[in-house]
Symmetry: C2
Subunit: 138 residues, 2 copies
DNA sequence: GCTGGCGTTGACGTCCGGGGGAAGGTTTAC
DNA sequence: GTAAACCTTCCCCCGGACGTCAACGCCAGC
Protein backbone atom coordinates (compact mmCIF):
# COMPACT_ATOMS: atom_id res chain seq x y z
CA UNK A 1 0.00 0.00 0.00
CA UNK A 2 1.26 3.44 -0.83
CA UNK A 3 0.98 6.65 1.08
CA UNK A 4 -2.17 7.95 -0.55
CA UNK A 5 -4.14 4.80 0.14
CA UNK A 6 -2.96 4.60 3.72
CA UNK A 7 -3.86 8.21 4.29
CA UNK A 8 -7.32 7.70 2.89
CA UNK A 9 -7.98 4.52 4.85
CA UNK A 10 -6.92 6.19 8.08
CA UNK A 11 -8.74 9.42 7.36
CA UNK A 12 -5.66 11.58 7.34
CA UNK A 13 -3.40 13.19 4.77
CA UNK A 14 -0.20 12.21 3.01
CA UNK A 15 1.38 15.29 4.51
CA UNK A 16 0.71 14.04 8.00
CA UNK A 17 2.17 10.63 7.20
CA UNK A 18 5.38 12.17 5.91
CA UNK A 19 5.48 14.26 9.04
CA UNK A 20 5.10 11.20 11.25
CA UNK A 21 7.90 9.54 9.37
CA UNK A 22 10.02 12.61 9.86
CA UNK A 23 9.41 12.29 13.59
CA UNK A 24 10.42 8.65 13.39
CA UNK A 25 6.95 7.79 14.63
CA UNK A 26 5.84 5.83 11.61
CA UNK A 27 8.83 4.94 9.44
CA UNK A 28 8.07 3.47 6.04
CA UNK A 29 9.80 0.81 4.02
CA UNK A 30 10.56 1.83 0.48
CA UNK A 31 9.68 0.18 -2.78
CA UNK A 32 12.28 -0.01 -5.56
CA UNK A 33 11.02 3.22 -7.08
CA UNK A 34 11.48 5.11 -3.83
CA UNK A 35 7.79 5.16 -2.97
CA UNK A 36 6.84 4.57 0.65
CA UNK A 37 5.40 1.10 1.19
CA UNK A 38 2.99 0.39 4.04
CA UNK A 39 1.14 -2.70 5.18
CA UNK A 40 -1.85 -3.49 7.37
CA UNK A 41 0.32 -3.30 10.46
CA UNK A 42 1.18 0.28 9.66
CA UNK A 43 -2.52 1.01 9.33
CA UNK A 44 -2.97 -0.43 12.80
CA UNK A 45 -0.20 1.80 14.14
CA UNK A 46 -1.62 4.82 12.42
CA UNK A 47 -5.08 4.15 13.82
CA UNK A 48 -3.53 3.97 17.28
CA UNK A 49 -1.95 7.35 16.73
CA UNK A 50 -5.19 8.90 15.53
CA UNK A 51 -7.21 7.40 18.38
CA UNK A 52 -4.81 8.74 20.96
CA UNK A 53 -4.80 12.11 19.30
CA UNK A 54 -8.57 12.16 19.67
CA UNK A 55 -8.01 11.55 23.36
CA UNK A 56 -5.94 14.70 23.44
CA UNK A 57 -2.50 13.13 23.31
CA UNK A 58 0.34 14.87 21.59
CA UNK A 59 2.24 12.94 18.95
CA UNK A 60 5.22 12.33 21.20
CA UNK A 61 2.91 10.88 23.79
CA UNK A 62 1.68 8.31 21.31
CA UNK A 63 5.18 7.00 20.70
CA UNK A 64 5.25 4.40 23.49
CA UNK A 65 1.94 3.00 22.28
CA UNK A 66 3.14 2.73 18.72
CA UNK A 67 6.39 1.11 19.73
CA UNK A 68 4.50 -1.27 21.97
CA UNK A 69 2.38 -2.41 19.06
CA UNK A 70 5.40 -2.63 16.83
CA UNK A 71 7.05 -4.86 19.42
CA UNK A 72 4.25 -7.33 18.83
CA UNK A 73 2.01 -6.66 21.78
CA UNK A 74 -1.71 -7.06 21.22
CA UNK A 75 -2.58 -3.52 22.30
CA UNK A 76 -0.73 -0.26 22.28
CA UNK A 77 -1.22 0.03 26.02
CA UNK A 78 0.09 -3.44 26.87
CA UNK A 79 3.45 -2.00 27.85
CA UNK A 80 4.48 -0.29 31.09
CA UNK A 81 5.70 2.78 29.22
CA UNK A 82 2.23 3.30 27.79
CA UNK A 83 0.65 2.97 31.21
CA UNK A 84 3.04 5.57 32.48
CA UNK A 85 1.90 7.91 29.76
CA UNK A 86 -1.69 7.28 30.79
CA UNK A 87 -0.81 8.13 34.37
CA UNK A 88 1.10 11.24 33.41
CA UNK A 89 -1.77 12.33 31.21
CA UNK A 90 -4.28 11.78 33.98
CA UNK A 91 -2.16 13.81 36.37
CA UNK A 92 -1.77 16.52 33.77
CA UNK A 93 -5.50 16.62 33.10
CA UNK A 94 -6.29 16.69 36.81
CA UNK A 95 -3.89 19.54 37.32
CA UNK A 96 -5.28 21.46 34.40
CA UNK A 97 -8.86 20.91 35.48
CA UNK A 98 -8.07 22.01 39.00
CA UNK A 99 -6.43 25.20 37.85
CA UNK A 100 -9.38 25.98 35.62
CA UNK A 101 -11.78 25.30 38.47
CA UNK A 102 -9.91 27.69 40.68
CA UNK A 103 -9.93 30.32 37.96
CA UNK A 104 -13.64 29.73 37.48
CA UNK A 105 -14.31 30.23 41.16
CA UNK A 106 -12.35 33.44 41.26
CA UNK A 107 -14.19 34.82 38.25
CA UNK A 108 -17.53 33.71 39.65
CA UNK A 109 -16.73 35.50 42.91
CA UNK A 110 -15.86 38.69 41.09
CA UNK A 111 -18.96 38.42 38.97
CA UNK A 112 -21.27 37.97 41.92
CA UNK A 113 -19.64 40.81 43.80
CA UNK A 114 -20.01 43.09 40.78
CA UNK A 115 -23.65 42.16 40.32
CA UNK A 116 -24.39 42.84 43.97
CA UNK A 117 -22.62 46.18 43.72
CA UNK A 118 -24.69 47.08 40.69
CA UNK A 119 -27.95 46.09 42.35
CA UNK A 120 -27.07 47.91 45.54
CA UNK A 121 -26.33 51.01 43.55
CA UNK A 122 -29.57 50.75 41.64
CA UNK A 123 -31.42 50.25 44.90
CA UNK A 124 -29.89 53.32 46.52
CA UNK A 125 -30.43 55.55 43.50
CA UNK A 126 -33.97 54.42 42.93
CA UNK A 127 -35.38 52.97 46.16
CA UNK A 128 -37.51 49.88 45.75
CA UNK A 129 -41.15 50.54 45.48
CA UNK A 130 -43.25 48.30 47.66
CA UNK A 131 -46.70 47.17 46.67
CA UNK A 132 -48.39 50.09 48.37
CA UNK A 133 -46.28 52.87 46.94
CA UNK A 134 -46.34 51.18 43.56
CA UNK A 135 -50.07 51.57 43.19
CA UNK A 136 -50.09 55.13 44.50
CA UNK A 137 -47.21 56.32 42.36
CA UNK A 138 -48.45 55.22 38.99
CA UNK B 1 5.53 59.34 35.39
CA UNK B 2 7.43 57.77 32.51
CA UNK B 3 7.23 54.32 31.09
CA UNK B 4 10.01 52.76 33.14
CA UNK B 5 8.56 53.86 36.45
CA UNK B 6 5.06 52.74 35.53
CA UNK B 7 6.34 49.36 34.42
CA UNK B 8 8.23 48.88 37.64
CA UNK B 9 5.36 50.00 39.85
CA UNK B 10 3.00 47.62 38.10
CA UNK B 11 5.47 44.76 37.98
CA UNK B 12 5.63 44.54 34.22
CA UNK B 13 7.94 45.64 31.43
CA UNK B 14 8.22 48.66 29.20
CA UNK B 15 7.79 46.37 26.24
CA UNK B 16 4.41 45.27 27.50
CA UNK B 17 3.28 48.86 28.00
CA UNK B 18 4.23 49.78 24.45
CA UNK B 19 2.41 46.72 23.28
CA UNK B 20 -0.73 47.71 25.20
CA UNK B 21 -0.53 51.13 23.66
CA UNK B 22 -0.17 49.56 20.24
CA UNK B 23 -3.38 47.65 20.93
CA UNK B 24 -5.04 50.88 21.98
CA UNK B 25 -5.58 49.36 25.39
CA UNK B 26 -3.51 51.83 27.38
CA UNK B 27 -2.80 54.92 25.28
CA UNK B 28 -0.30 57.37 26.71
CA UNK B 29 -0.14 61.11 26.62
CA UNK B 30 3.16 62.51 25.46
CA UNK B 31 5.53 64.92 27.12
CA UNK B 32 7.14 67.67 25.10
CA UNK B 33 10.12 65.49 24.35
CA UNK B 34 8.00 62.69 22.97
CA UNK B 35 8.25 60.52 26.08
CA UNK B 36 5.13 58.70 27.18
CA UNK B 37 3.57 60.36 30.21
CA UNK B 38 1.44 58.37 32.64
CA UNK B 39 -0.40 59.25 35.82
CA UNK B 40 -1.87 57.39 38.78
CA UNK B 41 -5.03 56.69 36.82
CA UNK B 42 -3.01 54.82 34.25
CA UNK B 43 -1.44 52.80 37.02
CA UNK B 44 -4.94 51.90 38.15
CA UNK B 45 -5.88 50.84 34.61
CA UNK B 46 -2.72 48.83 34.29
CA UNK B 47 -3.33 47.07 37.58
CA UNK B 48 -6.80 46.19 36.35
CA UNK B 49 -5.28 44.66 33.23
CA UNK B 50 -2.74 42.65 35.20
CA UNK B 51 -5.31 41.41 37.69
CA UNK B 52 -7.60 40.22 34.94
CA UNK B 53 -4.69 38.57 33.20
CA UNK B 54 -3.99 36.66 36.37
CA UNK B 55 -7.59 35.51 36.21
CA UNK B 56 -6.83 34.07 32.80
CA UNK B 57 -8.31 36.86 30.69
CA UNK B 58 -6.83 37.70 27.34
CA UNK B 59 -5.86 41.29 26.71
CA UNK B 60 -8.86 41.95 24.51
CA UNK B 61 -11.12 40.69 27.24
CA UNK B 62 -9.73 43.29 29.62
CA UNK B 63 -10.70 46.12 27.31
CA UNK B 64 -14.25 46.66 28.60
CA UNK B 65 -12.93 46.83 32.16
CA UNK B 66 -10.28 49.36 31.26
CA UNK B 67 -12.72 51.49 29.33
CA UNK B 68 -15.17 51.26 32.19
CA UNK B 69 -12.60 52.64 34.59
CA UNK B 70 -11.57 55.27 32.12
CA UNK B 71 -15.22 56.35 31.86
CA UNK B 72 -15.04 57.23 35.55
CA UNK B 73 -16.72 54.23 37.12
CA UNK B 74 -15.42 53.16 40.52
CA UNK B 75 -14.60 49.61 39.43
CA UNK B 76 -13.67 48.04 36.14
CA UNK B 77 -16.64 45.73 36.40
CA UNK B 78 -19.21 48.44 37.10
CA UNK B 79 -20.31 48.36 33.46
CA UNK B 80 -22.65 45.93 31.71
CA UNK B 81 -20.01 45.15 29.06
CA UNK B 82 -17.66 43.95 31.78
CA UNK B 83 -20.33 41.76 33.31
CA UNK B 84 -20.93 40.24 29.90
CA UNK B 85 -17.25 39.41 29.66
CA UNK B 86 -17.48 37.75 33.07
CA UNK B 87 -20.43 35.70 31.88
CA UNK B 88 -18.74 34.75 28.64
CA UNK B 89 -15.61 33.80 30.53
CA UNK B 90 -17.56 31.67 32.96
CA UNK B 91 -19.27 29.87 30.10
CA UNK B 92 -15.94 29.41 28.35
CA UNK B 93 -14.34 28.03 31.49
CA UNK B 94 -17.26 25.71 32.13
CA UNK B 95 -17.07 24.42 28.60
CA UNK B 96 -13.34 23.93 28.79
CA UNK B 97 -13.54 22.18 32.13
CA UNK B 98 -16.27 19.91 30.87
CA UNK B 99 -14.30 18.90 27.81
CA UNK B 100 -11.26 18.19 29.94
CA UNK B 101 -13.34 16.13 32.33
CA UNK B 102 -14.66 14.06 29.48
CA UNK B 103 -11.17 13.54 28.13
CA UNK B 104 -10.03 12.59 31.60
CA UNK B 105 -12.79 10.01 31.92
CA UNK B 106 -11.96 8.49 28.56
CA UNK B 107 -8.29 8.22 29.46
CA UNK B 108 -9.10 6.84 32.89
CA UNK B 109 -11.30 4.20 31.29
CA UNK B 110 -8.56 3.18 28.91
CA UNK B 111 -6.05 3.11 31.71
CA UNK B 112 -8.15 0.90 33.93
CA UNK B 113 -8.93 -1.44 31.09
CA UNK B 114 -5.24 -1.71 30.24
CA UNK B 115 -4.29 -2.37 33.84
CA UNK B 116 -6.92 -5.09 34.13
CA UNK B 117 -5.69 -6.65 30.90
CA UNK B 118 -2.15 -6.62 32.22
CA UNK B 119 -3.13 -8.20 35.52
CA UNK B 120 -5.27 -10.81 33.82
CA UNK B 121 -2.39 -11.71 31.58
CA UNK B 122 0.01 -11.96 34.49
CA UNK B 123 -2.47 -14.14 36.32
CA UNK B 124 -2.88 -16.52 33.42
CA UNK B 125 0.80 -16.79 32.61
CA UNK B 126 1.91 -17.24 36.17
CA UNK B 127 -0.99 -18.49 38.26
CA UNK B 128 -1.20 -17.00 41.71
CA UNK B 129 0.56 -19.01 44.30
CA UNK B 130 -1.43 -19.50 47.43
CA UNK B 131 0.15 -19.71 50.82
CA UNK B 132 0.50 -23.50 50.67
CA UNK B 133 2.17 -23.73 47.28
CA UNK B 134 4.37 -20.79 48.14
CA UNK B 135 6.02 -22.63 51.02
CA UNK B 136 6.44 -25.86 49.12
CA UNK B 137 7.87 -24.29 45.99
CA UNK B 138 10.65 -22.26 47.51
C1' DG C 1 31.47 67.48 26.56
C1' DC C 2 30.78 63.03 27.33
C1' DT C 3 29.19 58.86 29.36
C1' DG C 4 25.37 56.27 30.89
C1' DG C 5 20.81 55.51 31.32
C1' DC C 6 16.55 56.25 29.92
C1' DG C 7 13.50 57.07 26.02
C1' DT C 8 11.77 56.53 20.91
C1' DT C 9 10.22 53.66 16.59
C1' DG C 10 10.26 49.63 13.73
C1' DA C 11 11.08 45.19 12.55
C1' DC C 12 11.86 40.64 13.41
C1' DG C 13 12.25 36.43 16.78
C1' DT C 14 10.19 33.23 20.00
C1' DC C 15 7.46 29.39 21.72
C1' DC C 16 4.37 25.45 20.70
C1' DG C 17 2.61 21.55 17.81
C1' DG C 18 0.92 19.80 13.67
C1' DG C 19 1.00 20.07 9.76
C1' DG C 20 -0.22 23.19 4.76
C1' DG C 21 1.23 24.38 0.30
C1' DA C 22 4.10 25.17 -3.65
C1' DA C 23 8.10 24.18 -6.67
C1' DG C 24 10.22 21.02 -9.46
C1' DG C 25 11.13 16.43 -10.66
C1' DT C 26 9.86 10.93 -11.33
C1' DT C 27 6.77 7.14 -11.82
C1' DT C 28 2.58 4.96 -12.45
C1' DA C 29 -2.02 4.15 -14.35
C1' DC C 30 -5.47 4.31 -17.86
C1' DG D 1 0.31 10.61 -23.77
C1' DT D 2 -1.14 12.68 -20.12
C1' DA D 3 -3.06 12.99 -15.72
C1' DA D 4 -2.66 11.47 -11.21
C1' DA D 5 0.14 10.04 -7.65
C1' DC D 6 4.50 10.03 -5.80
C1' DC D 7 9.17 12.00 -4.44
C1' DT D 8 12.13 15.81 -1.93
C1' DT D 9 12.97 20.37 -0.12
C1' DC D 10 11.67 24.48 1.36
C1' DC D 11 9.28 27.96 3.61
C1' DC D 12 4.72 29.29 5.83
C1' DC D 13 1.14 29.53 9.34
C1' DC D 14 -1.81 29.65 13.40
C1' DG D 15 -2.26 32.81 18.17
C1' DG D 16 -0.87 35.40 22.06
C1' DA D 17 2.06 38.09 24.54
C1' DC D 18 5.55 39.73 24.44
C1' DG D 19 11.45 39.49 23.82
C1' DT D 20 15.19 41.27 21.31
C1' DC D 21 17.80 43.87 18.66
C1' DA D 22 19.04 48.18 15.77
C1' DA D 23 19.72 52.81 15.42
C1' DC D 24 18.68 56.76 17.05
C1' DG D 25 17.12 61.02 20.53
C1' DC D 26 17.12 63.23 25.18
C1' DC D 27 18.89 64.52 29.56
C1' DA D 28 21.43 64.45 34.17
C1' DG D 29 25.75 64.30 36.47
C1' DC D 30 30.70 65.03 36.67
Amino acid sequence: MRIGELAERAGTTTRALRYYEQLGLLPARRAGNGYRAYDEGDLRLLREIRTLQDFGFGLEETRPFVECLRAGHPEGDSCPASLEVYERKLAELDDCIERLREARERVAGQFERAVRARDDLAASEQPPRCELTKTTEE
